[in-house]
């Protein structure tokens, strides 16, 4: 039997057993249809088994998806305190009915806090759930996707344990940071900043049996609303819209529990029984945007014929740089440097606005192009602009030379 469309031979001579068998199978298959229930069951299995895998664009989903992205997540949490942690702590300073002194007093008195968080983003109908526990002096536990991925961090020692429930693997990390104080390491400096924030009243909201007072504030540049128990002056619900990796995401934090006794075992850095354990080299993370971007551009261009990555927000693409540096589940020194730079750069960029605080223009620039600018940013400490060029040298640049959005 010849296919009339392309002349390909589909079967055999009329009446030969092979052709009869195929024709019979075809005729019987024509009578069969997949039941809708199979489709529904399959979708349910996909959503249940791999909630982090159903999205490949949302940054947080990506971070949670694979072990080495968890390392990056841990690096971000460890270096910058974790986005939700910052927001939750910052909202204490964001409402008008409580003075800074009261806020600071409450915060200093807190021994433990936990909350649930949902993250939804982009066009995704999926929601990521995160349960966060914090305990003085410096312990944080984040359970992502109903405990499927767990990151336990001791910020004081820089030690971290990353558990992947899907693969039942555990990774011990030791991260040293330089460049910025993490919020739980320098609480006094952190709350001095909080005191400068203002909050404006918004509509109250009934949460449970409490009429919570609403306030709108800004937390690290992200619009944030919170509803506060008028009696305790503590938040019952916090909502924030953040932009990470070019994706806008909505965070909602609820079920705050303050000063409840928490088991020390929640923060144990001992891998659970049955987990395959690996220990990676100590990571040194430097919170220096210029240095980290330069590192990433250098490694990427070296492995891609002198081209620079099309985007610095596409974490999935950038993490592919790490693969050649992995062997038997371990990264070599270069792999560690890439992960460190990627984690720190991603963390830094959470708090920067593209076009205003930084710009990335790799089009038409190749490694070695000393006269072509590939990246620029505002150094907020010195209030000057800096640029990185195609040959990876950096220099001060005048604001007038940059396409800064007004």
């Amino acid at each position: 039997m010849i296919d009339p469309k392309n002349g390909e031979h589909r079967g055999g001579a009329e009446g030969e057993p092979l052709q009869l068998a195929l024709a019979f199978i075809e005729s019987q298959a024509d009578l069969q249809e997949m039941r809708q229930q199979v489709l529904a069951d399959t979708l349910a299995r996909i959503r249940h088994a791999a909630p982090v895998a159903v999205s490949n664009k949302n940054l947080l989903f990506r971070i949670a998806a694979l072990t080495f992205r968890q390392r990056i997540a841990a690096a971000i949490v460890l270096t910058l305190g974790g986005l939700s942690l910052w927001i939750v702590l910052s909202v204490f300073g964001g409402f008008t009915s409580v003075t800074y002194a009261q806020v600071a007093e409450q915060i200093r008195a807190l021994r433990t806090v936990s909350w649930n968080e949902t993250v939804s983003g982009g066009a995704s109908p999926m929601r990521l759930t995160i349960k966060t526990y914090c305990m003085e002096p410096s312990h944080v536990r984040m359970e992502i996707g109903q405990g499927m991925a767990v990151t336990i961090i001791d910020q004081a020692s820089g030690k971290s344990l990353v558990l992947n429930g899907l693969t039942r693997t555990a990774e011990l990390m030791q991260i040293q940071t330089t460049g910025v104080p993490a919020p739980m390491q320098d609480t006094a400096a952190y709350f001095r900043n909080l005191a400068e924030q203002k909050g404006e009243p918004i509509e109250d909201r009934v949460i449970g049996d409490i009429t919570a007072r609403g306030f709108r504030t800004t937390s690290f540049g992200f619009p944030t609303s919170l509803w506060v128990d008028p009696k305790t002056k503590r938040p019952l619900m916090v909502e924030s819209t953040v932009t990470m990796g070019g994706q806008e995401m909505k965070l909602r934090m609820t079920d705050f529990v303050f000063d409840a006794p928490l088991e020390q075992s929640l923060f144990s850095l001992q891998p659970p029984p049955g987990y395959k354990v690996s220990q990676i080299h100590p990571m040194v993370i430097v919170i220096d945007l210029e240095q980290n971007v330069t590192t990433l551009l250098r490694y990427y261009s070296a492995e891609n014929g002198g081209s620079f990555p099309p985007s610095l927000n596409d974490i999935l693409q950038l993490t592919k740089m790490v693969s050649p540096h992995m062997s038997n589940g371990q990264f070599d020194d270069d792999g560690q440097k890439i992960i460190s730079a990627l984690g720190a750069m991603t963390g830094s960029m959470m708090f920067l606005s593209q076009g205003t605080d930084y710009g990335y223009t790799p089009q038409g620039v190749k490694l070695g192009d000393a006269g072509k600018r590939v990246f620029w940013y505002l150094n907020k400490d010195t209030k000057t602009y800096r640029a990185i060029y195609g040959d990876l040298h950096a220099a001060d640049i005048a604001a007038a030379e940059l396409p800064i959005k007004k």
């Binding site: 068998a21 024709a23 019979f24 075809e26 019987q28 069969q32 997949m34 039941r35 999935l316």
Partner: protein, 172 residues
């Protein structure tokens, strides 16, 4: 974001049908379809999927052939006779029985082919792919697809010729 609902609604029925054609019964096709989808989820965690229909068809075809092999090992070739209710159409009961026997022999013989030949055969004859589509999906040349298919058909014809003789003996 991977829009699984859209992908499965668009491609799922055809992928499921490929599984049914290879396996010949609904329960196995359902399970095979789910296994293929979960394998696709796993694959997409570590790779960028360029063409979901190709991936799902290939996964379904390979898993269906694996299931055939398991079934033959466990229960013998008789288990490959279509278990869903057979529709006669214009065929006589004798024809129906004969064709059903040929189909069972074909499925059994598929399990003995080299895996790549079996996959190419299923994609071509049961999923309706062209040489070029198979070649692109398997990263080989269309000529090589033709060679694999030719070898697969030769082998299957030998097995089915034996079946024809057996059926003729029964008829006589």
């Amino acid at each position: 974001m991977i829009d699984w609902e859209r992908i499965l609604r668009e491609v799922g029925p055809a992928v499921w049908k490929t599984a049914w054609k290879v396996l010949g019964n609904r329960a196995d096709a359902d399970e095979c379809f789910q296994e293929a989808c979960m394998a696709a989820v796993e694959f997409s965690r570590k790779n960028t999927v360029q063409h979901w229909p190709s991936l799902l068809h290939r996964l379904a075809a390979n898993r269906a052939i694996d299931r055939l092999r398991q079934r033959v090992r466990r229960r013998g070739r008789e288990s490959l006779i279509d278990q869903d209710q057979l529709a006669a159409g214009d065929a006589t009961p004798v024809q129906l029985a004969q064709d059903s026997e040929f189909a069972a022999r074909l499925r059994s013989a598929l399990t003995e082919l080299p895996p790549k030949h079996a996959e190419a055969f299923c994609l071509f004859h049961m999923s309706g792919w062209t040489y070029v589509q198979i070649a692109e999906s398997l990263s080989i040349t269309p000529d090589l697809v033709g060679v694999w298919l030719q070898r697969a058909r030769e082998r299957l014809r030998i097995v089915l010729a034996g079946a024809k003789e057996a059926v003729s003996e029964v008829k006589s």
